[in-house]
């Protein structure tokens, strides 16, 4: 049990010192998956070759070969990331049997770092959702309360780490899809600066917003994983040439001289009292560590969600056009009833292959890009997006870190909001701005509700200033590190 809750750094060091074999660690996680995945549904696909990978690492360690910085660490990968020869579904029926002939750059880098791929985690279909309920493969459950959602879209990745089904995982975040489930499941999750991490081989939802990032038990672990996956990739033109610092070795919990901004728009009456008190506690901690807090203002916060849903759905309507049943993926069965024309071929294939949330967003985005509406919707959204960016840059001239809630409330019950898309979309009010502006954001556990549900605190910093997030995050987690598995799973 100890291994399942061990930090990545500890586990890695013990494997490296050969106090523990990678195979043994992997076996423990696979056993936990076998035991709990039927209930949690955190994984869509378990990697049958995981143990072979672990043994290969052990052999390298035995011969003193160079193993990477994540050698032997059993990790879970969100099913948005293509894994060579391992099914990649994006949580959708349309890719239910898709086995990519290539791996995402992130996956390649993890493997080159020695990480073990335990499997592919559940998610909202094409990352469109905040609860993991839109997955074709069924909802994932929150390990802290099996009746509740783990959040989304990276719900499976969060649940896997929280439930001891993986030492760490990779999620993707387009509007909060790493941070919100991290908050709901009591793990650390970071959405890096746009351009930090290659998007090559990651199923695209909204290209100008998508970023992959780590979900881990500790802040330091997130730094270690991000160091392994970040950096310029010639296969992704939008990756930045910025050098990748060794954040994990520079975590500084002395916050003297640091200014932490508290946007007044983030402290709404809407927040549940427990969320509010978790954030207040975090504020007290950062002050105690020497930081100065300043009130700042981000007046566009309330319309960021609207902007997000215009930009994201517009890009998605185009990104998802490739799923047409022609070259790969689901194709409707035309053997008994042939398609009358090309349009019917597409309609039946895509009609069967996509779930209703995906269809809703494709239709929204198609509408926003249509001639006659483009200026009023897509173009206007891009203009406001630039204003939002300017607003954040202005705020970052007054402070280095913004602190606030991740969500209005802790994890909600399965089925509670799925029929009300607008209520679901409002979940994203505090998280979408980071994606629209391109800045990094972190969710770090800040407390528990009376019902025992984790509550995350959100930290934001300026572009490429992830170190601030790791520093402040390390201070907040000190009082809140979750050392045990949730009661349900014990």
């Amino acid at each position: 049990m100890e291994i399942l809750t061990m930090s990545l750094k500890n586990l890695r060091d013990r494997i490296h010192r050969r106090e523990l074999s990678a195979a043994e660690a992997t076996t423990q996680f696979l056993t936990q998956i076998e035991k709990w995945n039927p209930r949690l549904n955190a994984y869509i696909t378990v990697n049958e070759r995981a143990l072979d990978q672990a043994r290969a690492i052990d052999r390298k360690l035995a011969t003193g070969e160079d193993v990477g910085p994540l050698a032997g660490v059993p990790m879970a990968i969100k099913d948005m990331l293509c894994t060579k020869d391992l099914r990649t579904t994006a949580g959708s029926k349309i890719l239910a049997d898709f086995v990519p002939p290539y791996s995402a750059t992130v996956v390649e880098r993890l493997e080159n770092s020695g990480a073990i791929t335990l499997g592919k985690t559940n998610q909202d279909e094409f990352a469109m959702g905040s609860s993991s309920e839109t997955s074709y493969f069924g909802v994932s459950r929150n390990p802290w309360d099996l009746d509740r959602v783990p959040g989304g879209s990276s719900g499976g990745s969060a649940a896997a780490v929280a439930g001891g089904l993986a030492c760490a995982s990779i999620g993707t975040d387009t509007g909060g899809s790493i941070r919100q489930p991290a908050s709901f499941c009591g793990v650390v999750g970071i959405k890096p600066t746009y351009g930090r991490v290659s998007r090559y081989g990651i199923v695209a939802y909204a290209s100008s917003l998508d970023q992959a990032g780590p979900m881990t038990r500790t802040v330091e672990d997130s730094a270690l994983v991000l160091e392994a996956i970040a950096g310029r990739d010639p296969r992704d033109s939008t990756t930045a040439a910025q050098p990748v610092p060794t954040w994990s070795q520079n975590i500084n919990k002395d916050l003297k001289g640091l200014k932490v901004g508290l946007p007044k728009e983030y402290f709404l009456d809407l927040l549940t009292p427990e969320t509010r008190s978790a954030v207040d506690k975090a504020i007290a901690q950062v002050r105690a560590a020497g930081a100065e807090t300043v009130e700042v203002s981000l007046p566009l916060t309330d319309i960021a969600v609207s902007i997000y849903y215009l930009v994201a759905t517009s890009e998605a309507s185009s990104n998802l056009a490739r799923y047409d049943g022609v070259r790969y993926g689901h194709r409707a069965d035309f053997s008994t009833e042939p398609a009358r024309d090309l349009a019917e071929f597409y309609c039946r294939t895509r009609g069967e292959g996509f779930g209703s949330e995906v269809k809703r967003r494709i239709i929204l985005g198609t509408y926003a890009l249509s001639s006659g509406y483009y200026d009023a919707y897509y173009k206007k959204a891009c203009q406001v997006r630039r204003l939002l960016r300017a607003q954040f840059l202005e705020v970052f001239s007054k402070c280095q870190v913004i602190l606030g809630p991740v969500c209005i409330a802790p994890a909600f019950k399965i089925g509670e909001r799925i029929s009300d898309p607008l209520a679901m979309y409002l979940n994203d009010i505090f998280t979408t701005s980071a994606n629209l502006v391109g800045i990094p954001g972190m969710s770090v556990p800040g407390g528990f509700s009376a019902q025992g549900l984790p509550i995350g605190v959100q930290l934001l910093s300026a572009h490429f200033q992830e170190q601030h997030l790791f520093n402040v995050g390390a201070v907040i987690e000190e009082a809140m590190a979750i050392k045990e598995l949730p009661n349900v799973l014990q």
């Binding site: 293509c82 998007r199 033109s237 185009s318 490739r322 090309l342």
Partner: protein, 477 residues
């Protein structure tokens, strides 16, 4: 009313496939041919999560062409997605340039009917080609080798009025592309494609008529014929009171007519928006300046220089500069022979005719430029006559041998020794005494006859000028 009461307005959209080794957004081979779907890796197939990375050489070729078309090159241009569903379009969108293209506002000068004419270039933008659909029985087969091959789309202003102008403009663009070595300009293989926008209006009318787009035109001759057919079709329609439908029509070369492909109502809303996977393309001044200085002399400038530097007639100068290799060939012959006029004449009349008969490009000419120059030198130094030279040339074309070798081996060298020629003249005059008398009595037309007889006696080897001189002297008697 007649056709003469109407005028046509014509604009062309030329798609040029750029001669890069790899595709515009991936490392897949861009070469023509190959086994079906051989040049397709995950990026070309539009597999999930794959991303485009811009081919730098494609940018260079496009900017070069833009400069040659006298365009302004945008410091910042943007790639946009053109969204539509089609089985041979792997991503469900084509990456193209929309409101911020690389090249804008240029012009092309071309030569037709003895004068230089100008066509405005609206824009030239970069985009990726789609794949190919082959309909076979009840199936459609897709070959994606071509998907992602770089294209430059050159859009002209509607500045042309006749089919001949359109065809000559297209030929000129092809000439430029080939001079730059950025496109092989093969209409048949589709490496260059011409879509023609045609409308007609009453002469004197300022407003444009409804335009029709013509596609599937795979030769310059068909550019002319398709437009001509379309102009007449539109005028016939209007004269019988019908309206022109805005539509796309396909040209059928076997029947020489155009048929409806799709009406405007069926046109797509392409939902263009900037491609978030690609950064804006930023071109820096130094790079552009370097590119500019690397441009070769372009066909028009070269033709004009041929006129002034070598006194080549205008028409000949344009023929000689049709292909860069041909112009190079001419200049080499002109320099080595120091006789540009003869060089031009030999190439225009003899070499091009024989190459054409043999279906050979000038690069494959059996007669080397240096050898043709040598032949001209032999004529100019009177070692052989012009008439002999024709035979020598034929032999050169057949065998690729040098002219001196041929002259020597056939004993063809010219007789310039005047005593030898005098002897021949004497013999001819002696054998034709009656004619000599007639000549001396005033029938001076007979002079040609005597020349012919002497040349015949010399087996064509006597120097004609010497024959003339000696004959004249002797006939004066």
């Amino acid at each position: 009313m007649s056709y003469n009461d109407w005028e046509a307005v014509i604009g062309l959209e030329i798609h040029a496939q750029l001669l890069t080794a790899s595709k515009i957004f991936s490392s897949d081979s861009a070469h023509f041919g190959g086994a079906d779907n051989e040049h397709t890796h995950p990026v070309s197939l539009g597999m999930p999560g794959t991303l485009p990375v811009l081919n730098e050489l494609a940018v260079e070729y496009s900017a070069k062409t833009g400069l040659a078309l006298n365009c302004k090159i945008r410091k910042k241009s943007v790639f946009a997605r053109k969204n539509y569903f089609y089985p041979d379009l792997p991503k469900g969108y084509q990456i193209s340039q929309y409101d911020e293209p690389l090249c804008e506002a240029g012009f092309v000068d071309y030569f037709l009917d003895g004068e230089i004419r100008r066509v405005g270039i609206t824009r030239a933008h970069m985009e990726e080609d789609a794949g190919k659909s082959v309909h076979q029985g009840g199936f459609t087969l897709i070959n994606l080798n071509r998907a992602g091959v770089p294209l430059l789309e050159i859009v002209s202003e509607p500045d042309m009025k006749t089919p001949q102008e359109a065809a000559e403009y297209a030929r000129t663009v092809r000439k430029i592309l080939r001079y730059l070595n950025v496109c092989d300009g093969n209409l048949e293989e589709g490496s260059m494609r011409c879509d023609c926008n045609v409308s007609v209006r009453k002469k004197g009318e300022k407003k444009f008529g409804t335009k029709v787009e013509l596609k599937n035109i795979n030769s310059f001759r068909f550019v002319e014929k398709a437009i001509e057919y379309e102009i007449h079709r539109q005028i016939d329609c209007l004269e019988t009171g019908e309206k022109i439908q805005q539509e796309t029509r396909l040209y059928d070369p076997t029947k020489n007519r155009t048929v409806t492909m799709r009406l405007k109502e069926e046109a797509h809303d392409y939902r263009y928006f900037p491609d978030p996977d690609l950064l804006p393309l930023v071109v820096d001044d130094a790079w552009l300046a370097k590119l500019k200085s690397s441009l070769p002399e372009l066909p028009l400038a070269r033709a004009q220089r041929f006129q002034t530097e070598y006194q080549v007639p205008a028409y000949d100068s344009f023929v000689l500069t049709t292909e860069k290799a041909q112009a190079d060939f001419f200049e080499e012959v002109a320099h080595l022979s120091k006789n540009p006029k003869a060089a031009s004449n030999w190439i225009m009349t003899d070499l091009l005719r024989d190459l054409n008969d043999a279906k050979l490009e000038i690069e494959k000419s059996p007669v080397a430029a240096a050898d043709l120059a040598q032949l001209i030198l032999l004529i100019d130094s009177k070692e052989i006559s012009g008439k002999m030279a024709k035979d020598v040339f034929a032999e050169m074309f057949k065998t690729s041998k040098g002219p001196q070798e041929i002259v020597k081996s056939k004993g063809m060298s010219q007789i310039t020794d005047s005593s030898a020629i005098e002897k021949l003249v004497d013999e001819v005059l002696a054998a034709n005494a009656n004619s000599v008398n007639d000549y001396r009595a005033g029938k001076t037309k007979l002079f040609g006859f005597f020349v012919g007889q002497v040349m015949k006696a010399s087996k064509g080897q006597a120097n004609p000028e010497s024959v003339n001189q000696i004959l004249q002297a002797k006939l004066k008697g």
